[in-house]
Every structure is written in C-alpha cells, then in structure tokens.
C-alpha cells in the first residue's frame, strides 16, 4: 500500500473511532490485571477489585454503560491515545510527565504511610527529644526516605535499605527501633496490627503533605475529552460524599485510602 493510501485509511479510521465516542456508546475503561486489591479476577473469571467497583459506581452514577478493557501497563498511554479505550483506571499515579501526555481527573485514592515499631516499644513521635538516637529504617530513595530525612533527620538515625524486606529483617533483629513505610507494603511484609503480631502501628495514616506524598492516583483521559473527565470528577465527588466510596473502600482495605 502506498503512503497516500495509508494516510487515507488512517483518516477514515479516525473518523470511525470518533463516531464511537458518542454519548450513548459504552465508556471503555482500561485496567492492567492483576493488581490486587485494585483490579483482579475471581476464580470464575469476573473482573473485580477496588478500582473496578469504583469505576462501575461512577458509570452507574453517570447512567452510562461501561466496558472494561484489559491492557498491559507498558502500552497503557499509547493505547489510550490510539483510542483503544476512553479512560485508564488502573492505579496510575499523577505525575507531571504523564500529565503532559494525558488528562487526569481529580485524584481518587492514595496509599497512606505509617510509623511502625515493635510491640512494647514506648515511642512518642510528638516528643522530638525522646527520639534522639533511635534508629529508623526506610527503603532508599522512596518518598518515605525523603519524608523521614527532612522531618526527622536531625534527631533519628536514618538507615537506608535496598528493599522493604531488608528493613523488615532488621526490624526483627532489633537493629531498628522504627520504620516508616508505605502501609500496604508494611501490611504485606510485616505482620502488624493483628492479635498475635509483634509489631504495631503507632501513628495515623499519613498522606500529606503533597510535596512528599504526591497527588495520588487519577483517572487518565485524552486531553481532548475534557467533558468526560469533568463528568468523572463530578461523579467521584458525589460518590465520596454519599458514602458509596467508603462502602467500596471498606470492602478492600483495612485502612484509609480516600483523597
């Protein structure tokens, strides 16, 4: 096929796809599965998870039909631009670089971080003088590392590890008095806050300030679909206030991810 024919085909094709983005067409939402508990499949093959439930709730609110499209992560943004689907709802954190490529909704969740120590350690984070000389483990180059270094670097002895597993290993040996960790990771690697666990959370779930913890996760759209993005924002806002969001959140998390 000559280049001219290719171009013609592309223009025709584009026309066809634009036609499918009309209001009565289903909204196609992309996810990369599995990413528990945000999106995964039940044994019978049905798609489920926090983001899937939330997305369905949004569509219900908008009274539009939704279809879920599975797309591997590395081709996510190109596929959105190529109109394989209309929005990405797959735990995509809002960053400046991505925002140049796609249009983000308001953030709809973020994972909190928390301070963790061994049971029986009496540590008061508010009383800075009492923290003098205590050791805290963080995973190197994470936002938790930045947060602790900036806010507690003058009193705590900050030890930086290559992986969360190394931090946990030294928590168990007692080399570390404290750790500041992404809570879902902490929950997966250390046994915390259960009846017979050796470790406990000693702070609130920390998600702010934004300079350290980022803006959270948003739904990504094509820049031209501003209208659809605004409908999503409105719907998400409504779900957050009417309790639907909390209901879905409680189904998947023991902690607060709301933004």
């Amino acid at each position: 096929m000559s280049h001219r024919h290719l171009l013609l085909a592309a223009i025709l094709g584009a026309g066809l796809v634009t036609a499918t983005a009309q209001a009565d067409e289903p909204i196609r939402l992309a996810v990369d599965v599995p990413y528990e508990p945000f999106e995964y499949k039940l044994p019978d093959g049905t798609l489920t998870g926090f983001e899937v439930d939330l997305g369905n709730a949004v569509c219900e609110y908008l009274e539009r039909e939704c279809r879920w499209v599975e797309q591997p992560w590395d081709g996510m943004i190109p596929a959105l631009k190529a109109r394989k689907f209309d929005a990405i709802m797959s735990s995509m954190a809002i960053t400046e670089e991505r925002a140049r490529q796609v249009l983000f909704s308001e953030p709809y969740y973020t994972t909190p971080s928390a301070w963790i120590t061994a049971n029986g350690n009496d540590i008061d984070l508010q009383d800075r003088d009492s923290l003098e000389g205590l050791t805290v483990g963080v995973q190197r180059a994470t936002l938790q590392d930045r947060y602790v270094t900036d806010l507690y670097g003058d009193v705590l002895d900050v030890r930086r590890y290559a992986s969360a597993d190394d931090v946990v290993a030294d928590m168990r040996t007692g080399r570390l008095d404290l750790t500041f960790m992404d809570y879902p990771i902490a929950e997966a690697t250390i046994d915390i806050d259960t009846a017979d666990s050796d470790f406990q959370r000693i702070s609130d779930f920390i998600k702010e300030p934004e300079t350290y913890f980022g803006q959270g996760v948003g739904v990504a759209f094509r820049h031209r679909d501003r209208e659809l993005a605004e409908q999503f924002n409105e719907a998400l806002q409504a779900l957050k206030t009417d309790g639907t969001y909390d209901e879905i959140m409680a189904k998947y998390f023991s902690y607060d991810v709301k933004l």
């Binding site: 483990g137 190197r140 180059a141 590392d145 930045r146 030890r159 930086r160 590890y161 290559a162 190394d166 290993a169 030294d170 168990r172 040996t173 007692g174 080399r175």
Partner: protein
C-alpha cells in the same frame, strides 16, 4: 575556618544540588570509606602474613584450613559475604543476648569483618606467591649460614617476599577501595551511599555519581602515588644500574 565556609557558601549559592549539606554527606561518606578500607587492609595484612607462611606448610592440618579459607573467600562475591555476615549473624541462636551483639548491631563492624576477611584471603595468596618464588639460592645461603627456620624467615624470606609482593598488593588496595562501594547495602553511608542519597534526592544521576567518581579517582591516585614511592625505595636494587 569561618572565612573558608563563607567563601564556599558563596561559591555554592546558585547550585541547587551541591549545597553545604550535600557536601557534608560526601564528607562523612569519605571518612567512612577511608576508615573502613584502611582498617580492613591493616587487619587483613596482619592476618595474611602468618596465614601465607602457614599456607606453604608441610603439615596438612595447618595448610588445608588456610587453603579452605582462601578458597571460600576468594571464591564467593564480597557482596554475598557482606549479606551473610550482616543479616546471617542474627540467626546464631541467642547472639542478641551476648556482648557480641553490641558491636554487631551497628552496620560498621559487620562490614569491617566482611572486608577484612575478604582482603585477608587475597593478601594471603599474594604473599604466598611471593614467598614461594624466593630464589633457591637465598634459602640455601641462609641454611649454609646455619640460620634457624625462624631467623631465615625473618631476615631473608619475608623481607624479599614483601618487596616482590608490593606491586600486586598495591593493586589489591585499589580493588578494596572500589569494592567498599557496596557498603551502602548494609545502610552504611560511605561515599557511594552518599552519592546514592544525593541521586535519589535530586534525581541527578550524572552530578551525584560523577562527583563521587572524582573523589574515588583522587583516592586511587594517592594510593598509586604512595605505592610508586614505596616501590622506588624498596625495589631500588632491581633498577638497571645508572638510573
């Protein structure tokens, strides 16, 4: 000193990465690296001399354990040894209740032990080679003088072996300096640890690592210079006449 600090601060005023604080990290890192490498080399040499002599012993119960030690520590990566000593030592039953834990709790001593044992193994092999290549004539001459084994070792074999080992040992010192870059995996803030910190902080890999590479180059250059001087002095007899 204050004047110097002020001058430095003025120099750095419009540099967003190399502030006094980050230079402080690099400074602390330099101290840690030099301490770690210097101490492990000193202890390593002290270990290596008797081991190198024992390595050439006719008695199997002396020779074989030393051979085994060298084989294990030269045959496994230093990174693995460091992991084993830092994380593995914890699995020794009851160690946390003994005085040993006081020194093993901090990352410095485990790293020092790993580095010392590693350089000790290499240095043993370097010295053994040098001792083995002692010219036959020197040994025969010493025997002809009626020297005891100890005296012969002290006066004849070891001094000439040290000289012969010097160029190879200089290399080992440089290797050790570069190998010490892995210390940051057990949370030590050595030079590389400082560079990784600055990199993660400012997302500036080139600035952070080029700067630390320059420091390593300076250190290496000093080592080369020191050994060159030492070789010139100790190996003067090997130079062609007239120079």
């Amino acid at each position: 000193m204050d004047a110097l600090m002020n001058w430095l601060e003025a120099r750095l005023a419009d540099n967003s990465i190399f502030t006094l604080q980050t230079l402080g990290y690099y400074g602390d890192g330099l101290v840690t690296t030099v301490q770690l490498v210097f101490l492990s080399l000193i202890i390593g040499v002290v270990l290596a001399v008797p081991l190198a002599i024992g390595r050439g012993s006719k008695k199997a119960w002396v020779r074989l354990p030393i051979f085994f030690y060298c084989y294990v520590f030269r045959g496994t990566p230093l990174l693995v040894q460091l992991y084993l000593i830092y994380y593995g030592v914890v699995f020794v039953e009851g160690i946390q209740e003994t005085w040993l834990w006081v020194i093993l709790e901090k990352p410095f001593v485990p790293a020092l032990i790993a580095f010392t044992l590693n350089t000790g193994a290499y240095t043993t092999e370097i010295f053994r080679g040098a001792i083995k290549s002692t010219p036959r004539g020197e040994i025969e001459a010493a025997r002809a003088y009626g020297m005891s084994w100890g005296l012969m070792m002290r006066r004849i074999v070891l001094p000439s072996a040290f000289r012969r080992a010097l160029p190879a040992y200089g290399n080992e010192v440089i290797f050790m300096l570069h190998a010490s870059a892995i210390a940051s995996v057990v949370t030590l803030m050595d030079l590389t640890g400082a560079a990784r910190f600055v990199y993660a902080r400012f997302y500036a890999p080139f600035d952070a690592f080029l700067f630390v590479a320059a420091i390593y180059l300076c250190l290496t250059f000093s080592i080369i210079f020191f050994f060159r001087r030492l070789e010139n002095r100790l190996l003067a007899h090997l130079r062609p006449a007239g120079h």
